[in-house]
Amino acid sequence: MAAQKTKTGTPVRPNMAVEIAGLKLKNPVMPASGTFGYGEEYAPYLDLNRLGAIITKGLSLQPKAGNETPRICETVSGMLNAIGLQNVGIEAFIEDKMPFLAQYDAPVIVNFFGNTRDEYAELAARLDELPGVAALEMNISCPNVKQGGIVFGTEAGAAHEVVALVRKKTRKPLIVKLTPNVTDIQVTARAVEDAGADAISLINTLTGMAVDVKTRKPRIANTIGGLSGPAIRPIAVRMVHQVVQAVKVPVIGIGGISRAMDALEFLIVGARAVQVGTANFVDPHAMATIIDGLEEFCQNEGITDINELIGTLEV
């Protein structure tokens, strides 16, 4: 297919805007939580106004110390991390981080978590009040300390309950971020949709481990960490494909996206938007390059609106 041309012969710029749960994004590309700090860290390298949205590091009520070091290690085409969700806590976030983010017109999505249902609920209520917060992304890959440490997101019942509770506390768009460490991702996806999620994002990291054979110690202090990066992309694409078929709410694809081509895989299987994680570390300019690449792809394929591309997988 030839690109659409205006009368003067220059290609029409395709519409890149997408909408997720009432949230208008100028394009479908945003950072994945925890890989972009609070935005300011990457501001010297990337015009944050170019992003579809800004997603911040996972936030909790209280500041959180995080894990012992080493916290990261590289694996084949991926990395393990066990940061331990170190973060400044809601108060310092409001005071120190929000003013910076308020300068940009990209909507700010706050990723948050708790270790009990009440913590989730309380934090959601706090975030709901903040005018600078456009939407919430709820990380349910956390152990429920009141239930023997079982991760909320690995048990559909627990996931439903905590999402339903949070839903009552906020009218802002609520994105629930799923953990991939489950037997059937469609089951958790349906549970959180049913509990009132406005959108679903996935995948969070896959649990993994690496050993230093010389010292015979795990290569990260926490023994087990979260695997991210290009290595996990096929698993992420599969899960997004499955979730798109299981739910009606929009889906945001995450996992190993480094190039426009990678983002396209997710859009084609039906993701309405994508998040870029580990690739930011490799190339601080990655998201801008991906946005440009998506636009170029649309032009080359004669697509005038990127929404036309979404969910066009031919099986």
Binding site: S33, G34, T35, G37, E41, Y42, P44, Y45, K57, G58, P63, K64, A65, G66, N67, E68, T69, P70, R71, I72, C73, E74, V76, S77, M79, L80, N81, A82, I83, G84, L85, Q86, N111, F113, N115, N139, S141, C142, P143, V145, G149, V151, G153, K177, N204, T205, T207, N222, I224, G225, G226, G229, P230, T278, N280, F281, V282, D283, P284, H285
Partner: protein, 284 residues
Amino acid sequence: MKNRKTIILSNQEISPGYYRMQILAPEYNRLAKPGQFVMFRVQRSLPPLLRRPFGIFRTGYVEPDCDGMPAKEFIEIIYKVVGTGTGIMQELHQGDRIELLGPLGRGFDLGDPDEEKILVGGGIGLVPLYMLAEKMVVNSNVRLLMGGRTRDDIITVTEFERLGVGTYVSTEDGSLGEEGLVTQVLERKLDKYPKASVYACGPMPMIDAVQQICSQRGTPLQVSLEALMACGVGACLGCVVKGAGHSADHPHYLCTCKQGPVFHAGELDWSRLATPDAECGGDQ
């Protein structure tokens, strides 16, 4: 602070396992401060996935290719081949394309002019001390205590001498200079120059020993630390060290990449107490 696509000007083995690489790097002469580093990306090939951090050894200019063209600015890094990334780096050639993010981090605090300065470098830890010495020799007495396991680990000492720095070499096997640890030399020098400030970079056990010596004597100390890094810009929180006053209840972490890699000794929690924390998903 920029990410630059650039090329390698030269890449040579200077001692067994140690390489010196010159990289085209506009603006670094103006921007780079002693103690800062770059995140280096080997292009095209995927392993390594992440960039690797390297201290800036020095900045400089090469002759322009043609009269009338501006001189080319470069930086030099010196690296030791230890694994995947450095293994690939040693095979790079002049003209190969790479990417450079930097200059990053907080560099050394130059201290008061006229003060005695003692730099302590262990092996490859000598790298960030060169630009520091360059700046310091202008108005201070600078001594470099340089330690290594064997003579192969003692690099670029003559270049420091050319700056006018007094150099004192020690090796563990006695194959070059004095036999023994660099910290022995440090104690002697501090006996002689009790008012000196110390600037150290090297393996962690050396840094630890230097810190103990300096804290006993009340000697001002700055150290340049290493850590595993993913982003280099303060975003991933992978590279943290515990700051002074850190506790589980009042966590005080500092990013080696952003608040460091150079710290005043007093900023850090030298006890390095463990603060195990509930694991939590997402970042795990």
